[in-house]
Structures are given as structure tokens and as C-alpha cells.
């Protein structure tokens, strides 16, 4: 899922300065699951903003997904009556709000962090950088692009020690130690003797914002 966290309330309040009627808009998918922008968090932010007064009217609602235009009908009327929208979606969702309501200023209430997994209560971690050319099959199901702080393709740098990454040994595991251990457990260490060729970064954002067009599902 997309993992996000709420911005400091002061930053949010700063954006809303001067706006009289604001729609606080939650999203029912990823950010609901990671407890950053679902119905509950939308209600919380809305009440904090109401308490802060300023004579500002605060409306609230949560739609199923902000990254898809088809879910916005439910809030079209509310949005029309507002002079700003505060989106509790990820960056993609907030941009869709701006696209659907071109005449309304849209502000983000979240910092979108990464694409990752839930690792237990209140813990999330980054696992995929959407490189566009997934090589998990070669690396034992552990992503070197993401889990190695330097996205190395041919094994650990000299900074790997006791399974931790030199960048922040307290908090970051060395992705290459994980890859090594897993391939060893699978009896596939040989795979690491192969020299991995330079990556084709044009398949990442280095090639510009990416698009996907699929004729097979167009018009469905």
C-alpha cells in the first residue's frame, strides 16, 4: 500500500489561512489502512480545525478512493460550496482532487512516504520503488533497489556489518544481507555470482513521469 503520515497541524492551518469554507476529504483505501487519512483521521482533523475557530466552516467526507475520478460524485455538491479542499489522500489522490475540481485550491494534509508493508502495530517499511522492471525473482523475493540504501545490484557494499546498513545501523537492515541469507536458505546462492548489468533506469521516473495504456481493458 501507499504509506503516508499526517502533516503538522500548523502547516495545514497555514494553508487554510483566509479560506472560509473548507472540505476536509478523506480517502478510504491505502491511507485508511495506514491510519493517516481515513474516515477517523478526517473527523479528527476536521474537529481540530473547527476548534481553532477563525469563523471558518469545516465540512467533512471520505470517499472510497481519491486516485480514481469515478468516486467523486458523492462530494460534488459539498465541494461546490467550498472555497478550498483539504485532501487526506496520498499525493496521487490529492492531485486527482485538483483535476476533478479545477477551480478549487487543494491542499495536502499528508506527507506521502512510500510504497510498503505493515510490519506490526504502528510500523511500516518501504519495500518497492516501482522500478518498472521487477527483479525480485532473481533476488530471492527481496528488492535490492529498495532494501539496499544505495540500490546496489551486485552485492553488499563494505558498510554492511552484523546485518545492518551503514546508513543507519539502528533502523535499517542491510538489504544485501537479507538477500544473501534468503538465497542461501533457498539453496540458490549461485544466483549472486552472476554479474547484474547496469539497470535500465529509463523505466523508472528517470524516464519522466510514467504512463500505462492497456488496450485490452480500454472501454471496460
Amino acid at each position: 500500500m501507499i504509506v503516508a503520515e499526517q502533516k503538522p497541524i500548523a502547516e495545514i492551518a497555514g494553508y487554510l489561512d483566509g479560506h472560509k469554507r473548507v472540505l476536509v476529504l478523506g480517502c478510504g483505501t491505502c491511507v485508511t489502512v495506514c491510519l493517516a487519512g481515513g474516515e477517523r483521521e478526517t473527523a479528527q482533523i476536521a474537529s481540530v480545525l473547527r476548534l481553532s475557530g477563525n469563523g471558518r466552516e469545516i465540512l467533512e467526507n471520505t470517499i472510497e478512493r481519491q486516485c480514481d475520478a469515478e468516486f467523486f460524485d458523492a462530494v460534488a455538491d459539498q465541494a461546490a460550496g467550498c472555497d478550498a479542499i483539504l485532501s487526506l489522500a496520498c499525493g496521487a489522490g490529492a492531485q486527482m482532487v485538483a483535476r476533478v475540481f479545477p477551480e478549487k485550491p487543494v491542499y495536502p494534509a499528508l506527507n506521502t512516504k512510500f510504497m510498503g508493508t505493515n510490519d506490526g502495530a504502528g510500523e511500516w517499511s518501504e519495500n518497492c520503488l516501482a522500478c518498472g522492471d521487477c527483479k525480485l525473482g532473481v533476488f530471492g523475493g527481496i528488492c535490492p533497489v529498495t532494501r539496499c540504501s544505495k540500490s546496489l545490484a551486485n552485492g553488499p557494499c563494505g558498510g554492511s556489518a552484523d546485518g545492518r546498513c551503514e546508513v543507519d545501523p539502528q533502523n535499517i537492515e542491510c538489504g544485501w544481507q537479507l538477500i544473501h541469507d534468503r538465497l542461501k536458505a533457498l539453496g540458490k546462492l549461485d544466483a549472486l555470482s552472476e554479474i547484474a548489468a547496469p539497470r535500465d533506469w529509463s523505466k523508472t521516473h528517470s524516464g519522466g513521469p510514467r504512463r500505462l495504456s492497456r488496450e485490452d481493458v480500454a472501454g471496460l
Binding site: 544505495k150 546496489l152 545490484a153 551486485n154 563494505g158 558498510g159 549472486l192 555470482s193
Partner: protein, 343 residues
């Protein structure tokens, strides 16, 4: 006493770094197989025990500082590594520094990390370095930028160190750029490729230990002509690693230069033991440093002992002395280690 190789005059900045006389003398034998025209390559090819050192460029546009350090090292080592924004701190570029050093007759080994430059920038810089007379390159991953003075910078890591080695090898041996294009200015122009002697780093002490020899093997297969190791204190672990290296025959394809760093104080010994990732310092050395009445002299003595032991290990082709900000001690270490006679 050993005085190092013959040096060209400072004014000789021609395409090749040897004097014409030297060139003709070796032309018939080694020149043919020579990959790069590097003197380090020639020394290793002739079976000599190579000595390299390290020169950290300054954090300001201070040519005198570079020249002073180079003057200290000049007659004592075969070549000197010029670090590339070491520990992610901005310094004079390795190529700029290398040119100054080269002009003084000291052979530079230009370090290149993958952190700051992508494949376009590195290839362009290597072409330029070659034109300025530089003949050795050391290909490194690079410390992460969080360690340095610009922790908010964006990193590059377009290539990793293995891929970098392969790219430089392909530029030299296949005469192509990373994209596959021939290294020529136009279809009609001749191929003019940069011919560099290619080094890599090896860390016998990093984790996972059992992968370390595999990683070296990858670098050798990618085209490393020599490697310099992380500084060695733990001889036992280094011995085990060298056994694995010999079992794979890597020492015959690639010159292994064993890294040493003289300890200056017990504080440094403890710091290296506890804080530096990928370095282990056995307690016996920490204790010796703690008990010494003159820790600096003890550090040099330990370093000299280590070099003598390393030299006796089969497959060790030289030493790499990393006396950062202590360059003035390199001549003493070289001399006391008896590196003047066999080379």
C-alpha cells in the same frame, strides 16, 4: 635504499607518462601486453611488491597543500590514491588533484565513486583524466551522503562498483561506451579510447563474510586489474579470506594490495574497532596502544610488523598504506618495512 621508480620531469605531461627513454627500453617486452601505460601496472606485471598510499585532497582550493602531501610521498610509493569526496565531504576533485600530483612525477590512482556521478559524467571525466596523463582508476561504491557535509543531497548510484569496473574495462578493451557506441568522435574519425589500469576495493571483513570472496570474484570478472583491501588489523580473518581468494585463483588474475592504516592513539584503535563499519581491530592491538608510552611510535611499529606479515602471505602483491592526515609517516613505514629492497 629504494627510491621508487624513475620519475619523468614535471614538464612532461605528454600522452604517456614515461620518459621516451624508458618507453623504448620496455617497448619490446611489456609494452605489448601493457593495458594502460601505468607504472603501477608495470611494477606489478614485473612481479614487484607494490606500495601505494593515499592522498586526501583538501576542502579548499589549496594547491600547496596537495603539493606538500605529494612531495612527502613522491619518492616512496609507486602510486597514490586520490580520494573522491571522501566520506561524502566536498573536496578538490580527484582528477584535479591527480593532475597536480601527476605533474610532480607522482603517479595518481583516481578514485571514482558511484555516489555523485552517473554513467555519462563518469565516462566524460575518465576521458578527460586520461588526456591529462592519468592512467589508474579505482572504482568504488562510495560512502552514503548521510556521512558527509551535504546529507540532504540526492545520491546517484546509477551504477554500482562492479558495473563501473566493467564499464571502464569495456572502454579500454572493447573500445566502447556504456551504451555500446564506439569511442570515436565521428564515423570517419579513429577510435581513441582511454586506457586505464583498473582497481577496485575489497573488504575482507564486511558481512556477509562468505560472500566477500564471491564479490571480489565478480570484480575480477568485471575487469579489476588490482584491488586494495580495507585496512587490515585482524590478520587471522584476512588469512582466511586470502585462502578463499587463492582457492578461486583470483590472486593470479588480479593483484591484491593489502590495506594498512597506522594507529595514532588508543582512542583511534577503539574508534576503529567499535565505530567503523567493516573494520575489526583485535584487542591485542588496542591493548598495545593503551600500554605504550609513545602510542604514535607503537602505531608505526604495529603497522611495520603487519606489512612484514602481509608480505609473507602468498598472493599478496603489495600494500596500500592509508595514513590519512599522517602522510609524513609513510616514508618511515616504507623504509622500516624493508620495502626498498625486493621491489
Amino acid at each position: 635504499m629504494w627510491r621508487g621508480c624513475e620519475r619523468p620531469a614535471a614538464s612532461d605531461v605528454s600522452d604517456r607518462s614515461d620518459s621516451p627513454l624508458e618507453r623504448s627500453a620496455i617497448a619490446m617486452s611489456e609494452e605489448k601486453q601493457s593495458k594502460s601505460g601505468s607504472r603501477l601496472e608495470r611494477k606489478l606485471a614485473a612481479g614487484g611488491f607494490a606500495v601505494t598510499a593515499e592522498l586526501g585532497p583538501p576542502k579548499s582550493a589549496d594547491a600547496d597543500l596537495i603539493r606538500n602531501k605529494a612531495a612527502l610521498l613522491k619518492d616512496w610509493v609507486d602510486a597514490v590514491n586520490i580520494t573522491d569526496n571522501q566520506t561524502a565531504i566536498v573536496r578538490v576533485s580527484s582528477i584535479g588533484t591527480g593532475k597536480l600530483v601527476h605533474d610532480m612525477g607522482l603517479e595518481p590512482i583516481i578514485q571514482v565513486t558511484c555516489r555523485d556521478r552517473n554513467r555519462l559524467a563518469i565516462q566524460a571525466d575518465l576521458l578527460g583524466a586520461y588526456l591529462m596523463g592519468i592512467r589508474n582508476v579505482l572504482c568504488l561504491t562510495g560512502d552514503h551522503q548521510v556521512f558527509g557535509n551535504h546529507p540532504t543531497a540526492r545520491y546517484v548510484f546509477d551504477l554500482d562498483s562492479v558495473q563501473l569496473i566493467a564499464m571502464v574495462r569495456d572502454m579500454r578493451d572493447r573500445k566502447v561506451f556504456a551504451c555500446g557506441d564506439e569511442i570515436r568522435n565521428s564515423k570517419k574519425a579513429g577510435i581513441k579510447e582511454p586506457r586505464l589500469f583498473i582497481g577496485g576495493a575489497a573488504n575482507p571483513f564486511g558481512d556477509p563474510f562468505e560472500f566477500r570472496a564471491t564479490r571480489l570474484e565478480k570484480k575480477v570478472r568485471a575487469g579489476a586489474d588490482f584491488v586494495q583491501t580495507q585496512c587490515i588489523y585482524d590478520m587471522e580473518r584476512f588469512d582466511r579470506w586470502m585462502k578463499e581468494v587463492r582457492a578461486r585463483g583470483l590472486h593470479r588474475k588480479c593483484a591484491i594490495l593489502a590495506g594498512v592504516t597506522p594507529l595514532k592513539s588508543v582512542g583511534m584503535a577503539r574508534y576503529m574497532r567499535d565505530q567503523v563499519a567493516g573494520v575489526t581491530v583485535p584487542d591485542c592491538y588496542v591493548q598495545r596502544m593503551a600500554e605504550a608510552s609513545d602510542p604514535k611510535a607503537e602505531g608505526i611499529a604495529i603497522c611495520v610488523e603487519q606489512i612484514r606479515r602481509l608480505r609473507a602471505i602468498e598472493g599478496v602483491a603489495g600494500v596500500h598504506i592509508m595514513a590519512i592526515e599522517w602522510e609524513e609517516k609513510v616514508p618511515e613505514i616504507v623504509e622500516r618495512a624493508g620495502l626498498g629492497t625486493g621491489g
